[in-house]
Amino acid sequence: MKIAFSLDTVNRSYQEPNLNRTALKFYWDELFKLVGAGGFDAIEMPFSAMPKVRSWDPFSKAQLEARYGGAEPFAKQLKEAGISKVAGLFFTPSVGGPFGSASVASADGFVGGMKNTAEKLLAYAEELGCEYVIISASPEVSSMGGLLEKEEEVLDKLAAAYSELADKAGNIKICIRNEFWGILRGDKMHDFMAKVDERIGYCVDLAHVKIAGSDPVEFIRRAGSRIGCVSLTDTCFEDKAECWKQPNPLFPVTGATQIFRDLGQGGIDLKGVFAALKEAGFDGWATVSNRQSKQVSRGILRARYALNALEEV
């Protein structure tokens, strides 16, 4: 199993003290060094089809070229920071984007939009030398409006689109993430994956699986050889009030909480997870994903501490 660290640990949208610094390139230049110093020699990155305004992250092709000189100089910069690879990229399709309207969305429109962006994702992943990409099965169900009434049609079209994407993916593994707020939450994912092209893998995201009410260890056993990648996420959150149905489920209306904890700070049975992955013969990428981290540098070291404790497993 290969370990990477995801840059989704950096919050670029929601306020936190000193958030504005993440717009600056020197922030990212230093972050790569911190990730390398934390003992991670590979990273995962979010993918933005359009550059985020006023932010010099390397998550879009346009910004990579404008600010980092392109893929080759970027790889050199990472190497100097101790990072040998961008292992993977991910993105979550939306229904029309923040300024769109779910009411006008069609299954073809949603799946077509996903496919269009996924093609750009694959092209960017190839340029960066990635081995996997993660595509979320859906955005939050709260944003899907009438599409939920056409769920079967949506899923059939998604399965077909994933096959077409796999034809173009070359050596890049396409993995599907089932967020706890999405249409394939929890164990529902297994039925879907049984119908999907075998070249498509699971992205087993531990916290999402647990919050949706499934046992991550059992989930891994069922996914078995179909596991394409693993997102090592942690959580203490129990969704007793079905916050997965609300708009913006990352911030439950039932009370403020941090849904995702830095690795090792939550309640996921990491020893059980690693043992199950070993049993499944998984030899792909498992990526630390400290989403919503309150202190990114501290989170890197917390994750390293948690992984060190798992070495014997």
């Binding site: 306020q15 913006n248 403020a256 700070q265």
Partner: protein, 307 residues
């Protein structure tokens, strides 16, 4: 004594995820960082009021997240006003108005923006009139189209009781070669000016002279300082100059740069300025510290000259 200047603070808070946090102590204990202090509008508005700011100016990209919490923007307005803060106005971008065919679209977008400003109770729509200079400057036709577009947009604003304020950016197409002409050629009944003190100075204008010359058109301010007045054209007209790779800041809190704010406030007194002035601290690594510091500065330093 009634004050002439009402101070607003520009929202650079990014998205705020909660209205209020009733379980604040539990939330804090989850990770024991200061993160918990920046997560609700209840807190943010109280910080504004606590630092002496009566207003907040929003940006259009704030509205999606605000509407997630306050589907009716009037609710957001009431929520702010209950905490002693009004929404003074909103920023807005002209979108390709240098091309004739884009004028109708800009008018429609202005209608939508003004509707939001009215729901929020704001008085100003401050408009950046164009793309980055590096994307192509304004030729004669572009200047004339920009003037026409601003007039049309301004008419929509005025009809709804909102003042359109043209807002220069030091790196945008309305710039040193043309910005005075555009101000002078637009219809003063509909098109006003939001004087961003740092942007205009970076372009190369003398701040006090510019205000003195155009005070009749200036209906509001973005007050911020800079240490880089009269920045060379080759830097301003380069691609993506706004955010520098090495973290160099074009904008500073009032008093941290080199601009003559005491001279400006003396002129504001001379011309009897009345209205909202938005203090802006984009670029700060610590919004709350900047808010508290500038709140002190406008009251205790500039307020002695004119308030």
């Amino acid at each position: 004594m009634e004050k002439n200047i009402r101070y607003s603070y520009m929202s650079h808070w990014k998205d705020i995820p909660y209205r209020e946090i009733p379980n604040f102590r539990d939330f804090y204990y989850e990770d024991k960082t200061n993160y918990a202090y920046y997560q609700s509008w209840d807190q943010i508005f109280k910080y504004h009021a606590g630092c002496g700011y009566e207003g907040m100016e929003v940006a259009p990209w704030d509205l999606f997240a605000i509407r997630t919490l306050f589907p009716d923007l009037r609710e957001f307005r009431a929520f702010a006003e209950e905490r002693g803060v009004e929404i003074s106005g909103m920023f807005h971008g002209m979108n390709g108005g240098r091309f004739k065919e884009n004028i109708p679209r800009n008018v429609e977008q202005t209608k939508a923006a003004v509707e939001n400003v009215v729901l929020l109770g704001g008085k100003h729509l401050n408009v950046c009139p164009g793309e980055n200079y590096a994307d192509g400057g304004l030729d004669e036709e572009g200047i004339l189209n920009t003037i026409e577009c601003l007039n049309e947009m301004g008419r929509v604003c005025e009809d709804n009781g909102v003042k359109l304020g043209v807002h220069n950016e030091f790196f945008c197409i309305m710039n040193k070669p043309n910005h005075k002409r555009i101000i002078e050629a637009t219809d003063p009944r509909y098109v006003h000016y939001c004087l961003d003190t740092a942007q205009v100075s970076i372009i190369g204008e003398d701040l006090c002279k510019f205000y003195d010359d155009y005070h009749e058109r200036i209906v509001t301010f973005h007050l911020k300082d800079t240490a880089d007045p009269k920045l060379p054209d080759e830097i301003r007209y380069a691609p993506f100059p706004e955010i520098q790779d090495d973290g160099h800041r074009w904008f500073w809190e009032l008093g941290f740069g080199v601009l003559d704010f005491e001279g400006l406030f003396t002129l504001m007194k001379k011309h009897g300025f009345k209205g909202w002035a938005t203090v802006e601290t984009d670029g700060t690594p610590d919004l709350l510290a900047s808010m508290a510091y500038t709140g002190y500065y406008v009251r205790n330093v500039l307020g002695k000259i004119y308030c």
